[in-house]
């Protein structure tokens, strides 16, 4: 905190805070959300641009069969996006990710909250959660295929198992780690268990839940790609598998670039939601930094 100034002996605040009457909470939250989103998006874009330049230079200086020029990949990506069949595959894959992710969020938060609140549920599910966390989806994919057949349910199951675990783990940790004193505060004012849950436990758990949601979106995209590669008949995975079989490096990289772009956009959306919902945590962190 650079140069805090004393208002009175016990009123020592960060200069930004000290400025006096604060603007409304909502406007602060929105402003910070925009600032964070802007910063993250700009940082990401600059990093990607640097990576693209390095890629282009390396591919020019060191010709490798498996590493086409970046400009060539971008041109191919543009061509692919002109193809209605490819666009349909892209939309189909995105819908799978979103459906699987939303299901994962609901399942992960419900299971994680139950584990965090009820020790018996925690003991009963802990090892299954660990197993689901560590076993790669490619191992589970054949099992789902046998059980559910070649269907969209199989792909959704792969995404959900992959993404919901990390959301459940974070939710469980957040709920179980609720400050006992804050529960006491609510109880001292006559709050019952339900009120303690809704007014104290869940709002306090949200920042860590969003960490899980952020990791979850990345795992949902991975689950979708792995599932589609395994099934190899639908979406981006089918295109990737087709290019791979044809040793088409440019095509394979084009699909990879689009998957990266999809991941980044979804990640930014979750980040903005996080900053809007948990603006208090970002404001507090900002005050500490100052």
């Amino acid at each position: 905190m650079a140069g805090p100034a004393a208002v009175s002996a016990d009123v020592v605040v960060a200069p930004a805070v000290q400025a006096g009457a604060a603007p409304g909470r909502g406007s602060r939250g929105r402003a910070r959300a925009l600032a964070v989103a802007r910063r993250d998006v700009l940082t990401g874009l600059v990093a990607l641009a640097v990576g693209a330049v390095v890629w282009e230079l390396v591919s020019l200086l060191v010709p490798l069969d498996w590493l086409p020029r970046f400009s060539e990949v971008m041109a191919s990506t543009g061509d692919l996006l002109q193809d209605p069949a490819f666009r349909a595959a892209l939309v189909e894959s995105t819908v799978y990710v979103l459906e699987g992710y939303l299901l994962s969020a609901v399942i992960g938060i419900v299971i994680g909250a139950a584990m965090g609140l009820v020790p018996l549920v925690d003991r009963a599910l802990r090892y299954y959660l660990d197993l689901a966390l560590f076993v790669p989806p490619i191992v589970m994919a054949p099992v789902f295929l046998i059980v559910l057949g070649l269907s969209r349910t199989t792909l959704l199951a792969i995404i959900v198992v992959f993404a919901s675990t990390v959301i459940a783990v974070n939710t469980r940790t957040a709920v179980a780690g609720t400050d006992e004193q804050l529960r006491d505060v609510a109880r001292s004012f006559g709050a019952d268990r339900r009120t303690v849950l809704t007014r104290v436990v869940l709002p306090g758990a949200l920042p860590l839940v969003f960490v899980g949601l952020h990791l979850g979106i990345a795992r949902a995209v991975k689950g979708m790609i792995i599932g589609q590669l395994f099934l190899a008949v639908i979406g981006l995975g089918a295109y990737s598998a087709r290019f791979e079989r044809a040793f088409d490096a440019v095509g394979t990289w084009s699909v990879a670039v689009l998957v990266i772009a999809l991941s980044l956009v979804l990640s930014w959306v979750v980040k903005v939601a996080d900053v809007v919902v948990n603006d208090w945590a970002y404001r507090a962190a900002g005050a500490r930094d100052e």
């Binding site: 009175s8 002996a9 016990d10 009123v11 020592v12 605040v13 960060a14 805070v17 006096g20 009457a21 604060a22 603007p23 409304g24 909470r25 602060r28 400050d179 004193q181 804050l182 006491d184 505060v185 609510a186 109880r187 001292s188 004012f189 006559g190 709050a191 009120t195 007014r199 104290v200 709002p203 306090g204 949200l206 948990n278 208090w280 945590a281 404001r283 507090a284 962190a285 005050a287 500490r288």
Partner: protein, 279 residues
């Protein structure tokens, strides 16, 4: 001035009538932690936090509890708050046995215990909200309390943006917002630096003097107990029990200069003598 009564500071008696609304009677309470289950081959280890503790706090009285760590000060306070149930004995507030928290009691916590996602105004009105007070009345009452604890201009700030002293002011305002008959304070200034702590003591005296709520104050600081209290309960350990009761006859209102007076030094030394015997 002081007395040692083998765990009984003041005889517990059940009060009656509305005039006793702020009276607290602790009647032979005991509390043992642990020891419910024996671990493989080992005898259960039980810790008697409190044993046969009795005391009465009169309406409008300011009583502090001092004692070494582990003497059960906080456990006793939590029993009065209704957050911990005694294993033996009972706590009476206004003649009714305490079975849980109630609107006539309100607690100020050690680390302020503010909800970090709520603003100063929202934190102050948190208890009112849980008690179903309408939003307009909550806002009005919170504004009064903001003024009382001198936090104007910080209404929309979050706890993370406040200093430790300001956070404790909010904690105090939140407890006062529900207009309790009895104010329970668990080392509220324990985490503050010395300068802030002295300032907060002055603030508390000023606020308390306004309507003299029955107050039970747990502290590790002997000086703080003498400055604030009408009476000091000294507790001992193993098991936690009352070992002395010291009446503080310093005139009110008290300022920081009270610490320079011979009476203050005499009382402080007396408390320390009792505490030294517990070490």
């Amino acid at each position: 001035m002081s007395q040692l009564q083998g765990g009984t500071a003041t005889a517990a008696r059940a009060p009656e009538g509305p005039a006793d609304a702020g009276r607290v009677v602790v009647d032979g309470v005991g509390k043992t932690f642990g020891g419910a289950k024996a671990r493989r081959g080992r005898a259960p280890v039980a810790h008697a936090a409190l044993a046969d503790v009795s005391l009465t706090i009169e309406p409008s009285e300011f009583v502090s509890i001092v004692g070494p760590s582990g003497c059960g000060k906080t456990t006793l306070l939590r029993m009065v708050a209704g957050l911990t149930r005694p294993d033996a004995g009972r706590v009476l507030v206004a003649g009714r046995e305490v079975t849980g928290p109630g609107p006539e009691r309100s607690m100020v916590f050690q680390q302020a215990g503010l909800l970090p996602w709520l603003t100063v105004m929202e934190n102050i009105s948190f208890g009112l909200r849980l008690q179903g007070v309408p939003a307009a009345r909550r806002a009005e009452r919170a504004a009064e309390l903001v003024h009382l604890v001198q936090l104007e201009g910080f209404e929309q700030h979050l706890p993370g943006e406040l200093s430790g002293g300001m956070q404790q002011r909010v904690g105090l305002a939140r407890a006062l917002a529900v207009d309790p008959k009895i104010l329970l304070m668990d080392e509220p200034f324990g985490a503050l630096d010395e300068i802030t702590r002295r300032q907060m003591q002055g603030e508390l005296l000023r606020i308390w003097a306004a309507d003299r709520k029955t107050s039970l104050f747990v502290t590790h600081s002997v000086e703080e107990a003498v400055v604030l209290s009408d009476r000091i309960i000294v507790m001992g350990t193993k098991p936690g029990r009352v070992v002395a009761e010291i009446h503080v006859d310093l005139p009110r209102p008290r300022g920081t200069d009270v610490e320079e007076t011979p009476d203050f030094l005499r009382l402080r030394n007396e408390v320390w003598q009792w505490l030294d015997r517990q070490l």
